[in-house]
Symmetry: C2
Subunit: 369 residues, 2 copies
Amino acid sequence: MSATASATDRIFNFSAGPAVLPESVLEQAQKDLWNICDSGIGIMEHSHRGKVFDRVIEEAEADCRKIADISNDYAVLFLQGGASTQFGQIPMNFLSPERVADYPNTGEWTTKAINDAKKFGKVNVPFDGTAENFVRVPTDADLEGQLSSDAAYLHYCSNNTIFGTRYLTPPQTKAPLICDTSSEMFSRPIDINRHALIYAGAQKNLGPSGVTLVIIRRDFAETANPNLMAMMDYRNHIKNGSRYNTPPAFGIYFMGLVFKWILNQGGLESIERRNAAKAQLIYDAIDESEGFYIGHSQPWCRSHMNVTFRLSNPDLESEFLKEAAAQRMDGLKGHRSTGGIRASIYNAFPHAGCEALANLMRDFMARKG
Amino acid sequence: MSATASATDRIFNFSAGPAVLPESVLEQAQKDLWNICDSGIGIMEHSHRGKVFDRVIEEAEADCRKIADISNDYAVLFLQGGASTQFGQIPMNFLSPERVADYPNTGEWTTKAINDAKKFGKVNVPFDGTAENFVRVPTDADLEGQLSSDAAYLHYCSNNTIFGTRYLTPPQTKAPLICDTSSEMFSRPIDINRHALIYAGAQKNLGPSGVTLVIIRRDFAETANPNLMAMMDYRNHIKNGSRYNTPPAFGIYFMGLVFKWILNQGGLESIERRNAAKAQLIYDAIDESEGFYIGHSQPWCRSHMNVTFRLSNPDLESEFLKEAAAQRMDGLKGHRSTGGIRASIYNAFPHAGCEALANLMRDFMARKG
């Protein structure tokens, strides 16, 4: 049973996404699934135009605005289709055959975004990490002189889940800035006002898969192409407060609970400190290993959400994963593009899990090194 | 608490969607939210490429095929964006400026589908129910001679939630047949083989909002337009088994449990009998009232999912709704297009709830008639 279950029947879940969620939120959801707010109806069974859901979505938006100090110049939208839909929806709205957009390429997801953008207009790639297997993101010096003079926008991915890299600050550009921040949204402070559009699939830091948080500057949305199919037109969702059609109600509800959890944790600065400390535990184990463990990312742009490394002796990797599993650690196998190990340690991932992994790394090396 | 809660803390939920879900499925979901299959990880926290979710999605597809005897000529897809996304995605894939598609107009949803289709090609409306406020669907006689000779497809909506009408059989056409069956999917037997594409938002008969069931003939999908954005291209989802990107995992899981529930109810013929009996209870109360209650739909095409009627004295409607609420019946207010009363009684809606409504109708009339 849910409420009587102790944390001991749950394991350390390092999954890259869908990923671990706050346990207090899971417990609340268990109750509300059956009967929310004493309405006699579960959260998934309420009309999306009824009073209970009005309150759910209004609170979710208000708490989201509070977390990142989002002004009314921006609309906060809860959409469907994941970040992958944004890959196409953004150029469908803001690109055209005679215009160009800048897309620094920092991994698999930006590669996919570029492929979709090319279907709608011209794409300039001012930095391409492909040849060095995406071990870093560009610096502003890399981008200087490479950006288009009249770009419709610049699109970047602030944290690269697969490769474990992140931008320390948004790239410098005069173009409207668009950010895919799926794998690190609300894991550290974010300067909304530098962006025209920010989006994040929920399934890493914000909730279950199936809902996408989109924060878009209202005046930028007004510059979109005309005559788009209704569901791909941001203006339509802004006008209807994310309820043009039936929204992903349970996902919005759950995200709203996660927003409250973030605020209860002390907000983004507090969250960032905790995340940095968690990541440091594992990076220290890598750096102290004198090459037994090899980090994928260049140290200066290491992600605090996805710690990627391999063993200098790749034959030992499956043994390492087996020992981790025996110690109730799951989801550590790296993405097929990089191999090795990936520890995804999003907001809801516990400090104790990072300690457990760092301990295993040291212990394993002492025996096998 | 979930498992100890008796049905008595839940009320009769006549919501048009999101709508009532099977209680046994809700109870299962409460448990799996915390820890599914003794994995130590909740259903929403599992990787969509891991073993647990492999089994979830494979079983969901297999059970779906079993329910409606769906052959391998068809792909079964679990997508996002609701039926409203299909309104645009279908013509984006299968229409073009030089081609025409047939769209009989039977209500608000087909009107929206028509508006999106016009952005991609020519639309022929062989029947338009607007002038008579959508009190019926077309007969084959209505459509005869009105269909395009070389239509890319014919799109229809098999059950009209707002107006409470339904097609008894699919329209006769030589064109590929596309059906929006959102509000009655798996409420009665459906002849998949007559269709090229069938779609349904889950939030009426199949699960929570945020997942769309799409059944598409593979050879029809191959005729789609080239160079579409990845997430709008059915071929892409077919090739990747609905996992091109992170799918709406919890919705698919929940839909899978509902499929098992449908099979446990004896399948579609058994479900249809129960639904017919439930609807009859309310239609009888309308028909016996000698005009005190006035049904919206013409009797021959009455929906078994959405029973729509008004009171001959509209001043009494708010009183009727108040009495219903006092008897723990919610969600009966009609859509703003029709006014009056709408009782949505999907698969999971209990027989006892239809009895309760019919009893109230007779009692109310005895006192006010």
